[in-house]
């Protein structure tokens, strides 16, 4: 019981540390767009980037909490994991919404023209809409009368699409994530999330026993 509490604290510390490290990326790997901003605009732009990175990091934790690894099940109960998954989902959506709002705020809400070269930004807007709908459906599944199995399959497929979309969006929208350590971390988070989800699905089919 005592060991379990220690492991819980270690897991929570790891979670917080990863989030703190994610928040530090826009400070240590500044993109050139930051050079030209001052005062409030700079604060808004950096905050917008931090919100986006936080949303991405929390997404990776969504995959981990959904995978229900045996070792995590020993530390946290299934109810705790589910509660975390739900609360985490809400927070990542809030952060994802704040991400473009703060970035556009830094530019005086001057919106991008509908041009091909802004596809990573428009992909991001599409993803945000998709993610919001996905979260709303998850919360109001019963009210809108979607069966559990149907919802679960669509939720998993949607999650994979969102992970892939976020990876493409982040690696193309910002200079910070084009190469170097941030890109390696982004790729690692994306691959981890995908492997974990695929592992869970294969496990659900009964091929793998854990």
């Amino acid at each position: 019981m005592r060991i379990n509490s220690v492991l819980k604290i270690v897991c929570l510390l790891g979670f917080v540390l990863i989030l703190v490290f994610a928040c530090a990326i826009p400070f240590y790997f500044e993109s050139p767009s930051m050079f030209y901003k001052f005062g409030t605009a700079k604060l808004m732009l950096r905050s917008g980037k931090i919100f986006g990175i936080l949303a991405g990091a929390l997404m990776a934790f969504q995959a981990i909490s959904a995978a229900r690894f045996v070792f995590l099940n020993k530390i946290f109960s299934q109810a705790q994991a589910l509660k975390f998954h739900k609360i985490n989902g809400v927070w990542l959506t809030i952060f994802a919404i704040c991400h473009p709002v703060f970035i556009l705020w830094a530019e005086g809400f001057s919106f991008f023209p509908f041009e091909k070269r802004y596809w990573p930004e428009f992909l991001g807007m599409g993803l945000l809409l998709f993610l919001t709908i996905m979260v709303l459906i998850a919360f109001f599944r019963i009210q809108i009368k979607i069966g559990w199995n149907k919802w679960l399959v669509s939720h998993r497929i949607s999650a994979l699409l969102v992970f892939f979309g976020v990876f493409v969006h982040a690696s193309n929208v910002s200079k910070s994530f084009e190469s170097g350590l941030p890109y390696i971390l982004l790729l690692t988070a994306f691959l981890t999330a995908v492997i974990v989800l695929v592992f869970k699905w294969v496990k659900a089919t009964g091929f793998i026993k854990t």
Binding site: P32, S33, F38, E107, G108, S110, F112, R117
Partner: protein, 195 residues
Amino acid sequence: MKKLLMSIAIVFLILSAGTVQAAQWKIDPAHSAIRFDIKHIFSIVSGHFSEFEADLVFDPQNLSNARIDFSVNVKSINTSNGKRDTHLRSKDFFDADTFSVMTFKSSSITHVKDNLYALEGMLAIKDVQQSIAIEFNFYGPKAHPFDKKSDVAGFDTSFEINRLDFHVGDGKFYKMGVVGDMVMVRISVEALTGK
């Protein structure tokens, strides 16, 4: 007699229509451009506006009726860097949401020598209207090599303006030695008219 008068009137109408048509030029957007160069610390950054319209009425033989008016969609600015263009459209520079169009309206056109003409007019960028005088070259007209129904002519000019005179930026980046104040504008137009 009635028929004769009618025939004369028709011939006159055709001829006068032909005269108007010869002076009215339509921009060939694929072969026309509004480009600009501006200093960034040490290098020169080039860009262009991809969307613009022009009202070109120009006949070298009849300059009294000539006019060269331009309107440029500010949001179409392109310096081959999406992030920079977003910044240029923002309140820090063009404030393109509030001032979406730049215009030039000519007031007089005079012949200088050979192909060279002097143009005066009002340049309006953001909330500033300023009278400017520039020179431009007029080439042609000649039969279009690929379009037998059209004549083609060329107009080109280059001139410098101070972006700060037009409130394109508040001078913050200029004082930092990052973005220059003088902008070299280069306009090259190929225009067509029906024969």
